[in-house]
């Protein structure tokens, strides 16, 4: 696709860019599966702020 195929449009009021409205109910009923250590090991290496820093251009 060529750049000439596209033109900017004004932002739609329905698609405002705010970090997710992610409030919700409390912790749900969970059952701890076996082998949790591997998940825990990897979690320790993840920056909890990673998603806030992660910005992408829109794709198709």
């Amino acid at each position: 696709m060529r750049d000439a195929d596209r033109t900017p449009r004004p932002a739609s009021p329905g698609t405002e860019r705010k970090l997710g409205d992610d409030s919700g109910p409390g912790v749900p009923d969970v059952r701890k599966p076996e082998g949790g250590n591997e998940l825990l090991r990897r979690l320790k290496k993840i920056d909890p702020e990673q998603a806030q820093k992660y910005r992408q251009r829109s794709g198709e």
């Binding site: 599966p33 998603a51 806030q52 794709g59």
Partner: protein
């Protein structure tokens, strides 16, 4: 049913150390150029027509995202072909930079298992390229097979289906749209929170927030559930290409296969004029509501104040398919698997979560909440959501679930690829690269002693295995020309 040819193209998220969205286009170009494998460079853009609409008109322009326009303000990019850095790989795939995302487009495949194998091969291509890119630049890079940055920027995982031109917009729209919406319950990749249209705790779909119309030709902005781009990459008088943009990128191979198989069922029914008829009161609102439905009832409002459910819609396709179609082993398995999953979704969520991304990730996030003392309102969950899609087997959380045997990773291995025109493209790349001038979805332009020779590839057939035995380019070209004259499917 004739072979249903399909392909997947996935735009990957890319995160480069100390870089950001404002430099993403240049970074993606350099990333693709770092691909360490053998490839042909010289993509043929002649047949691209993204502004042509299936409804019989052409748009003057396509919209761009306003924030992306801000990133580009005052910038001057290199020529488009250089920026895109197209590589044709030896399996017939296309690997390139699309709007700042490394995109892997599989070769065209007839079978679901071949398509899934090609999609998984794409993950390996991205991993190898990431390793080469990091070695060259000394910058860490993470690659995500997902569809959102949680700030309102979405990127696609598209499906492409070769269809008969005679079907037309109305038939395709009516036959496929209900399936695209209903299949979300079995194919979504899941997402923490919402990026538009109010709040949500956890959604089934990564993409549902971004659809604002039932049908149009846009892909970057004001996206539709049913995309009307009419760019067949084949002779337009006979063929069309259904370009599906409403699905999510899937990590679980069985979910990828199911996503495509369900649309193949809808297309098969469209071809015989027996697709179930569902008139949604508001398709966009319905897709959004299904994605956010925490009750798993998945109620769908129809016109005339009637109601149904996503379960009933899917079952209506399965019943019609069993009655009117000659189903192959793969589509029979898709139906059986989908029916089992619909029961498990309501009665055995742990089993359901082994084979559906949104459920596997939800279960994982619930476990993380328990381990880390978090709640759904904690923003860190979006980081763990993102890392589910990290394709690095040593770092990604989906891959942790595989190691923990919490998801079904296994998918039938493929002995040999389908001999579609994608296979031909790969053969040409592997064996006769010096003789190729340009190469695209639709044709190969060879250099011959008599000048350039365009050879059109048949989009609808499986080529003879003997083509692989051609030892010289002349014999190869002759085989392709003979195939052009073969019977129409």
């Amino acid at each position: 049913m004739n072979p249903q040819i399909a392909g997947l193209d996935t735009e990957y998220g890319i995160s480069v150390e100390a870089r950001g969205a404002s430099s993403q286009v240049e970074d993606a170009t350099e990333f693709v150029r770092s691909f360490p494998g053998r490839a042909f460079v010289g993509w043929d853009y002649r047949f691209e027509s993204p502004r042509q609409d299936l409804r019989g008109f052409q748009l003057d322009r396509l919209a761009v995202d306003p924030l992306d326009a801000e990133y580009d303000a005052g910038k001057s990019y290199m020529p488009a072909a250089d920026l895109r850095a197209d590589r044709v790989l030896e399996n017939g795939a296309r690997f390139y930079n699309d709007h700042g995302h490394p995109e892997f487009a599989t070769p065209e495949c007839a079978r679901l298992d071949s398509l899934v194998a090609a999609d998984l091969y794409g993950e390996r291509v991205l991993l190898e390229t990431a390793s080469a890119y990091s070695a060259q630049t000394c910058l860490a890079v993470s690659i995500y097979k997902n569809n959102t940055d949680f700030h309102g920027a979405s990127y696609g995982s598209h499906e492409n289906y070769l269809v008969d031109r005679k079907l037309g917009f109305q038939t395709l729209f009516q036959a496929v749209s209900p399936m695209l919406i209903a299949r979300t319950i079995l194919c979504g990749a899941g997402k923490v929170g919402a990026e538009a249209h109010g709040s949500a705790v956890y959604q089934l779909s990564q993409r549902a927030d971004f659809f604002v119309e039932a049908a149009n030709a846009e892909t970057l902005y004001r996206r539709p559930i049913f995309n009307t781009r009419d760019e067949p990459h084949a002779p337009a008088e006979r063929f069309g290409r259904l370009h599906v943009i409403s699905g999510d990128a899937n990590m679980i191979p069985a979910t990828t296969a199911r996503k495509v198989g369900l649309v193949k069922i809808a297309l098969g029914l469209a071809e015989v004029g027996e697709a179930p008829k569902w008139d949604f009161a508001d398709p966009v609102r319905t897709m959004r509501a299904i994605s956010r439905d925490e009750t798993y009832d998945f109620r769908v409002e129809l016109t005339g104040r009637n109601w149904t459910t996503a379960y009933e819609i899917l079952e209506s396709y399965f019943a019609a398919a069993e009655r009117f179609l000659e189903l192959d082993d793969e589509l029979l398995a898709v139906i059986e698997d989908s029916r089992t999953l619909m029961v498990e979704l309501r009665n055995d969520f742990d089993r359901f979560a082994r084979r559906v991304d949104w459920a596997a990730k939800r279960k994982m996030l619930e476990q993380i909440q328990e381990m880390e003392g978090l709640s759904w309102g904690d923003r860190a969950l979006q980081s763990y959501d993102l890392e589910y899609h990290n394709i690095d087997p040593e770092a990604g959380l989906y891959h942790a679930l595989i190691e923990m045997d919490l998801v079904d990773r296994e998918f039938a291995s493929v002995a040999e690829p389908d001999r579609t025109r994608g296979w031909v493209r790969g053969l040409a790349t592997a064996k006769f690269k010096p003789a190729i001038d340009t190469l695209g979805w639709r044709a190969i332009r060879f250099r011959t002693s008599e000048g350039p020779l365009d050879v059109e590839l048949r989009p609808d057939m499986l080529y003879s295995a003997e083509l692989a035995d051609a030892e010289d380019v002349g014999t190869f070209i002759n085989h392709l020309l003979e195939a052009q004259q073969g019977p129409q499917s």
